[in-house]
């Protein structure tokens, strides 16, 4: 058995110092954010609409700006600017048996990466994270590709993160859309 002094040193080594504690907390936040983004991608691909709506806070918005220079969706043209009520409307339309352009339904596959936690404010519980997405959509024997950046403003809640704002800057924001976007990218 090692002398007491050595044992104490080993125990002290096992307790993270302040720098390591900070790193662990950051890794945990990073992991939580990545989990949320991955889960959100799965929810969209699986068309789990009630799970989709519950990702957002009650005042949450999904926003796809018409121009990357925009700083808020209020009062400006947007490709999407939807609160939970408008999202609910979109879901009801998608699930209606006579939503003609949903036969056949479009399928998507989302990949999210390059996740950067931009800020993490313990006082407000608000985390801002940037990421990149690639989406393939298949409908009527044709594939379309979409790509761009997400910027999520997330709120910590007892049940995990909720989205207050999901900003979606699609690379072809000002290009001609061949057909339309039936639901969220």
């Amino acid at each position: 058995m090692a002398p007491a002094s050595q044992r104490e040193a080993a125990v002290a080594d096992a307790v993270p110092d302040r720098a390591e504690q900070g790193l662990l907390a950051r890794l945990e936040t990073q992991w939580q954010v990545e989990q949320l983004l991955t889960r959100q991608a799965e929810i969209l691909d699986q068309r789990r609409w009630s799970d989709w709506l519950s990702l957002f806070t009650s005042d949450g918005h999904y926003w796809m700006p018409a121009d990357p220079a925009q700083t808020s969706g209020e009062g400006v043209p947007s490709i999407f600017y939807e609160d939970r009520w408008l999202m609910r409307t979109r879901v009801k339309r998608l699930e209606h048996p006579r939503a003609w352009s949903q036969t056949p339904r479009n399928r998507t596959s989302h990949v999210v990466g390059n996740v950067v936690v931009e800020s993490d404010d313990p006082a407000t519980g608000i985390v801002v994270a940037r990421s990149k997405f690639h989406v393939v959509e298949f409908r009527l024997d044709a594939q379309r590709y979409f790509a761009g950046s997400y910027r999520h403003t997330l709120v910590r809640t007892p049940d995990g993160f909720r989205i207050r704002l999901q900003r979606v800057d699609i690379v072809n924001y000002d290009g001609p859309f061949d057909y339309v976007l039936q639901f969220w990218i």
């Binding site: 796809m64 043209p77 409307t89 352009s101 859309f177």
Partner: protein, 441 residues
């Protein structure tokens, strides 16, 4: 399949259009399409843009007339010009941007020929090389070619590639209502463009879109799902918050209006194929924002004139063949045919100068909800258009039916009216204009 000969010689469009039906070749035949470009789009007035897209000298915006790439500019003297977007030297396009500011000259990226914003050549590098040749700077071949005619009406500018034809106002006739109704709703009598253009491609013939704009039969069917979804959310909003849902839900829930009620709407047809569909949304609520706006309008116009302006009840005005205008919501869609089965729509909205911000928000919400690339409405329209195009390219039948209320289109003083909102008069009316244009060799 009936084919039009390449030069159109000896070809009679009446072989394809009867009073109550049109042959599928009108929609699906490449040669018919090529002839449409030549005889309709390269001859009639085509929408270029709103003057506020080029507010300052040096500003430009680009668009297509038929197959021609065009550029609308504001010259140093403040005048608006429409030019072919082509350098007279080797033919390079002078800009490939949609909108921009060129400064005092447009400069060719190839050999640096420079042009004033009115299209006149300004400078050619090392001009000595042209000494003794027949290319002199006073030769029109040395400058950008202008559109044959350019005219504006209430800030909306059109160009025609044909030197002859009626002036813009005569040609617009009753379709002037599109611009009068939009501008009159502004306390200052003018509108200003919001410089975001949504562009959406339809995989279908351009005429299918125009026909659909005046088709009061389709909304409750095509848009039933979106209408019902919005109507349900309106009720849930009221139940959960105690407040009425915002007006924008009504833009969608109005589509639940049953077919028989659309019967009461009127459509009107004017010379050259222009048409009007009466309004159905009842966009004149009595909320504080509307009352404030109406008070501003009364200060500008007086009570009687304000009532006349706000009482105007139009949903769509079609300026055939190039434009669909929704004046009460300050939107327009320009139609740019790309091929028999491919059409680009350029969608714009406007601010009413002098109107309070909440009134702009109504226009904005309609733009975002109905006209943006995430539209829940046009998703089902474009799907129908594509299905029609597929069917019209098939040999399952040669004719498209416009028999509903055929033979019952009263004409008075050059204006055709429908006997019911569900009449297919507008489609017959547009094809009358189509036959006139196409028959002029």
């Amino acid at each position: 399949m009936l084919h039009a000969p390449k030069d159109g010689a000896g070809w009679d469009p009446r072989d394809l259009v009867e009073p109550d039906r049109a042959h599928r070749a009108c929609y699906a035949d490449q040669e018919v399409f090529d002839l449409e470009i030549e005889r309709i789009f390269h001859r009639s007035w085509i929408y270029a843009g709103h003057e506020s897209q080029v507010p300052n000298p040096g500003d430009f915006t680009t668009f297509q007339i038929g197959h021609q790439p065009m550029i609308m500019t504001r010259a140093a003297d403040g005048r608006i010009h429409v030019l072919y977007n082509r350098c007279p030297h080797r033919g390079a396009m002078l800009t490939n941007e949609h909108m921009g500011h060129a400064g005092s000259t447009l400069i060719c990226s190839y050999h640096s020929w420079q042009f004033k914003l009115d299209g006149r050549v300004h400078a050619i590098p090392t001009p000595d090389g042209y000494a003794g040749t027949r290319l002199t700077t006073d030769n029109p071949d040395c400058s950008m070619k202008p559109a044959a005619r350019v005219e504006g009406y209430r800030g909306f500018w059109f160009a025609s590639l044909a030197a002859d034809g009626p002036d813009l106002e005569t040609w617009l006739s009753g379709a002037k209502a599109a611009f009068d109704d939009m501008c009159d709703r502004a306390p200052e009598g003018e509108v200003e463009v919001v410089p975001t253009c949504f562009r959406v491609i339809q995989k279908s013939n351009w005429k299918i879109f125009l026909e659909n704009q005046l088709d009061a039969l389709h909304p409750s069917i095509t848009h039933g799902a979106a209408g019902k979804a919005a109507a349900e959310v309106e009720q849930e909003f009221k139940a959960e918050t105690g407040d009425d849902a915002p007006l924008q839900y009504h833009y969608l829930s109005a589509f639940t209006t049953p077919i028989y009620k659309w019967d009461g709407l009127q459509t009107r047809g004017f010379p050259h194929g222009h048409c009007i569909l009466e309004g159905y949304m009842g966009l004149r609520p009595k909320d504080p924002d509307t009352l404030e706006y109406e008070a501003v309008m009364e200060r500008a116009y007086g009570k009687a004139r304000t009532e006349e302006i706000l009482g105007t009840n139009i949903h769509h005005v079609l300026v055939y063949p190039c434009l669909s205008v929704q004046a009460p919501l300050q939107q327009l869609r320009a139609v740019r045919p790309l091929g028999p089965d491919r059409t680009l729509t350029e969608i714009w909205h406007f601010r009413l100068k002098g109107a309070p911000e909440p009134i702009y928000r109504r226009s904005l919400h309609y733009f975002n909800l109905v006209n943006s690339p995430s539209t829940m409405i046009n998703a089902d329209d474009l799907n129908n258009f594509w299905r029609c195009q597929q069917g019209l390219e098939s040999e399952g039948g040669d004719w498209v039916s416009f028999h509903r209320n055929a033979g019952q289109d009263p004409v008075e003083n050059g204006v055709t009216t429908s006997v019911t909102g569900l009449s297919e008069m507008p489609m017959r009316h547009m094809f009358t204009a189509w036959t006139d244009y196409m028959g002029e060799g």
